[in-house]
């Protein structure tokens, strides 16, 4: 079997509890802040992209993407 590197977002001491909702939200916001600051395809931002895609349920990401397009996203972008 080929060696596949499996990893997920690192444990963040700011979010010690089982409920990682806030962790997912923070990483999603971080990624979009990075993109707004550095541009769409910047490599630095891909780290945050991997984190939030590991942590967040697909439905939430879709819902937040829609909210961003409508201008109703509640996060500090």
């Amino acid at each position: 079997m080929a060696d596949v590197e499996l990893k997920t977002a690192p444990a963040d001491f700011r979010f010690p509890t089982t409920n990682q909702t806030r962790h997912c939200f923070t990483r999603y916001v971080e990624f979009h802040k990075c993109v707004n600051a550095k541009g769409e395809e910047s490599d630095d931002c891909m780290k945050f992209a991997k984190y939030y895609r590991s942590l967040c349920p697909g439905e939430w990401v879709e819902k937040w993407n829609e909210q961003r397009e409508n201008g109703t996203f509640p996060g500090p972008l």
């Binding site: 909702t21 806030r22 939200f25 923070t26 509640p74 996060g75 500090p76």
Partner: protein, 278 residues
């Protein structure tokens, strides 16, 4: 007549210091009125059709009016028993004071639950709010404008009511009347200022959990201010009618205790909801 040891004479004395109340219809009337008020309110909130038609608000109004009337008639009897019939011995007065204190403590627990709700939502705001408090999009009220004035009004009313109380104890009728009148003026000014705040606020009770907790906490506090104002107003009119003595003025003291409780709740509200929460 009272000196002879006859059955008739002995009925003129009671050999224990407590007040055994004569039968009264007011407790039962109050409980029926409260039943109408509470069930009408539940029906109105849930949009049930009601026998009087319309939104059901009329039945709530009827329930409220009968409750207030029943309470007024009951308290009127207590005043008659204490001031005119002499039933309120020192021990009865102590019992009444304990009763008032326990009632206020129960109200404190009610406000504890209200503050609990506020802190539950505000200490760890959900992602739907943007994980921040105040939530994204809420235009909060500057605590150092009208709310600060309200704080000063209530603190001043506490000072004027203390002056009035001391005047009553010293037998200073003019001071007592002026002090109580100033207290009522400050109380009514507070209510007017809160009304102005409510009308001009940039958010409503329907604006998420911020709106809910803000108007729930300040709204119930406002209701208690109005009740406290009425309580002091009744004591004021009794003072004008010469009901109070320098040693016996329980209704006045109870209204003062209730007013201090209202003041303290406002101080907590100001610091947590208005200042920290903005």
């Amino acid at each position: 007549m009272n000196t002879k040891n006859t059955t008739l004479s002995r009925t003129q004395f009671q050999f224990q210091p407590f007040h055994l109340v004569t039968p009264s219809p007011w407790p039962l009337l109050t409980s029926f009125a409260l039943l109408i008020l509470t069930s009408a309110a539940v029906m109105y909130f849930n949009g049930y059709a009601n026998p009087l038609g319309g939104s059901g608000a009329l039945l709530v109004g009827i329930g409220l009016a009968t409750t207030v009337a029943a309470m007024a008639l009951w308290f009127r009897d207590v005043v008659a028993e204490g001031t005119f019939l002499g039933d309120h011995t020192i021990l009865v007065q102590k019992g009444i004071t304990m009763g008032v204190a326990l009632f206020i403590i129960s109200e404190v627990f009610f406000f504890i639950s209200v503050f609990w709700a506020f802190f539950h939502s505000s200490l760890s705001p959900t992602v739907e709010l943007g994980a921040q408090w105040p939530p994204v999009g809420i235009a909060t009220i500057n605590p150092f404008e009208l709310p600060l004035l309200n704080t000063i009004l209530l603190l001043s009313s506490g000072a004027t009511v203390t002056y009035a109380h001391h005047s009553v104890i010293e037998g200073n009728r003019r001071g007592a009347i002026l002090g109580t009148l100033m207290t009522l003026v400050f109380a009514i000014l507070f209510t007017i200022c809160q009304g102005i705040e409510y009308v001009n606020a940039g958010f409503t009770i329907a604006d998420g959990v911020f709106g809910s907790t803000f108007f729930f906490s300040t709204g119930f506090h406002g209701i208690h201010v109005i009740i406290g104002t009425a309580f002091i107003a009744v004591a004021f009119f009794r003072m004008l009618s010469y009901h109070l003595t320098d040693h016996h003025h329980l209704g006045f003291e109870a209204s003062i205790l209730y007013w201090h409780f209202v003041d303290v709740v406002w101080l907590f509200l100001f610091i947590t909801v208005y200042w920290w929460g903005s």
